[in-house]
Amino acid sequence: MIHDQADYAREGEDVHEPLLSEKDETTVDVREASPLPDDLTREELTLPAPSEPEIARHYTRLSQMNWAIDSGPYPLGSCTMKYNPKFTEDVAADPNAAIHPDRSARAAQGNLELQYRLQEFLGEIGGMDAVTLQPPAGAAGEFTGIAVAKAYHEHHGNDRSEVVIPASAHGTNFATAAMAGYDVVELPSGDDGRVDVEALEAAVGDDTAALMLTNPNTVGLFERDITEIAEIVHDAGGLLYYDGANLNALLGRGRPGDMGFDVMHYNVHKTFATPHGGGGPGAGPVGVVDELAEFLPAPRVRETEEGSGYEPFEPANTIGKVHGFGGNWLVLVKTYAYIARLGDEGLADAAAKAVLNANYLAERIDLDVPYDPFHHEFAATAGDRDAADVAKRMLDFGVHPPTTKWPEMVPEAMLTEPTEIEGQSSLDDLAEAFNLAYADTDDALDAAPSRTAAGRIDQVGAARDPRLSWQALDGE
């Protein structure tokens, strides 16, 4: 099953695909053909002008130098790389849905209906009373949720300056709080890897705007004191924010809204299987409880009063907008199709299998897993080996390695999330790759990877001397 990107290389020859600019550079005299006066135009434009067959070969070759979930296991912890059902692409490609966002509501009833239905789906899944689809990614969802929390506090005359975040949280949580103008209070983890309730009590107070929490947390542990945590935060007048990155573990089993969370975002490109596209687009809808609904971004979609159609509306005390239009529409359509396909039963089944797969895989690997019982993901430790080196060696055994060296609470962490999609044999392959790499010699680890299109890349060197365009490479 080894996926060998070096196959495309001929022995001893350059395996690389030239840059488009190395294939062709054509310069056009812009002013010659322009209907505009010269002082409003550029003189010339120089870009590649390859033929269509050259383009097809170029991008096909590049695709062959790229791992994907359709290539094999991709167990990046916290990233929830599941298979993306193909039919959702066809649903999103419907030409009738390809309309401009500024047409009247009367002429856009189809898209509005789908938006409304998805709002309802997500509200039900999260146990939330109101949902906005506008945030274009998880981090944008966080920014929206924290901005909503801020608007809520300001509306009630409370000037709160701090957001409390566990040390193990995603980096986006800290960056989001800072972007929204809050000071960050970092909460150390308890000995069991969870929120230390006493430390939380000491950390929250009159200045606390919110606690941002991921549950299960970033080593896969369920915050079993969540009811007490919610009480502590609420008693201090703060709000409880749910980071939806790990929602896949809870689907159909527990809802953030029922646990006392006031506001949450959904990572639809994780939980609801929309393709990640090499880094996006995703979408980060936000759900809130009733008390916060009036602050959500505008517009949201509701049924018309007579119930015969759908209309956009502006929440009474809206924070305004977080995306120029309505967010990543094509991604949202795929989300709807996925949820509709699985239904309650399928979603609950996905969560159960995700947890089962993580536990099966953890049993099969020789690495220690310091924190348990974990759910959909686990943080193994490479111990006295370098986790990044072990990961590079795993590339030679036909799998993508897990997330490495994070969270920091586990030394040399290998955060692993196989998701529900892997069968037993591919989990066994993953385990074998783990074990072979972990047990390999230092020399073998240092030399890895050897079966990929590029050998080990000097990232420090690349950052020291940044070359970010083909123009920067000219003359080399």
Binding site: G171, G278, G279, G324
Partner: protein, 396 residues
Amino acid sequence: MYKRQERDIRAECSRIFARNDDLVEFLGRGHYGHYVPSVVDHLADRAEFLTSYTQYQPEISQGFLQALFEYQSMLVELTGLPVANCSMYDAATALGEAATLADRVRSTSGDVALVPEQLREGKRAVLENYCAGADLSVETYPMADGNADIDALADRAGDDTVMVYAENPTVRGCIEERLAAVGDLAADADALFVLGSDPVSLSVLQEPASVGADVVVGEAGALGLPTAYGMGLGLFACRDDFLRQVPGRLVGAGEDAAGDRAFTLTLQTREQHIRKERATSNICTNQAWVALRAAIHAATLGPDGLVDLANDCVREAAALADRLDEVKGAAAPVHDRHHVREFAVRVDQPAAAIAGDLEAEGFAVHAIGEHLLQVCVTDLNAGRTDGLVAAFEEVI
């Protein structure tokens, strides 16, 4: 929520989307539809691209990294600025990020982001949210006949200004005629000059670097992305000095163990997963796949095709404005400027009513003021202008 079959969901969604009216859209104002060649879909839809994750293991992700490096390079050529990232969410969020960058890099204190009075409302609303967290306020400068009012801007820009934003073309499709003067004013105020545009327009308009732009933002989804209900691709490019303050992902060239050229995400110490609350932005997931599409589209057109497309956007807008100007009760273009794709139309009757009547005739246009419409023409609807003109004659 019941589990349902794939074919039933496809049928259901087809039925739902068929409830959108069948209209010929002459709509723009920041979201543009151009014809996207089939080759873009077929190559970008390859599962190795579409179903991959962020390139955290560069050795096994060289293909996407190279494609993004090429995308960055195309934007470097189009903007004249040496640094372009591999995407923001859309034009509005890119502008928000530019404002917070301006706040970080400006040497003296100040708290005002100056924007043109004619600006898409939603874009301004997004900017306000980004500015709120950085304690910046958004203020406007006036326009004079569709362009930045340079004298008024000179009066307004000063010590408190961290950023001056202008668009080329403007939200009403006007080409700015004195951008270098805007750049000088911004420089005099020690403020960043942030210019909004799109890669099609940039193919022929003045190179942003040549008029003093420090940052270029905009909607790069004009390439590669069909009309998609507002989904976008945020363009972000800037000067070298801001390299370590750039938001978002950057792909760089480096070397592998054999000394061969290889690509990798770089300068990651700017980013949230390392720098946490001191990161330049919280952005993580971005619009990488849309950037891939834009790059394939640009490669397919080549510089000749891009220039032809942009020139057609200028010619078609002028031609349609002339024809609508002949309709009794309508005057176009409202601003005595050159236009790209779109222009404002003054109508004697209430604009909203006219837009409604046009919709009943099967055409969608913007109503942007009590007696102002806006019409956008691209290669997608240029063949339908006869119908639009006839409909104007019918309803006015």
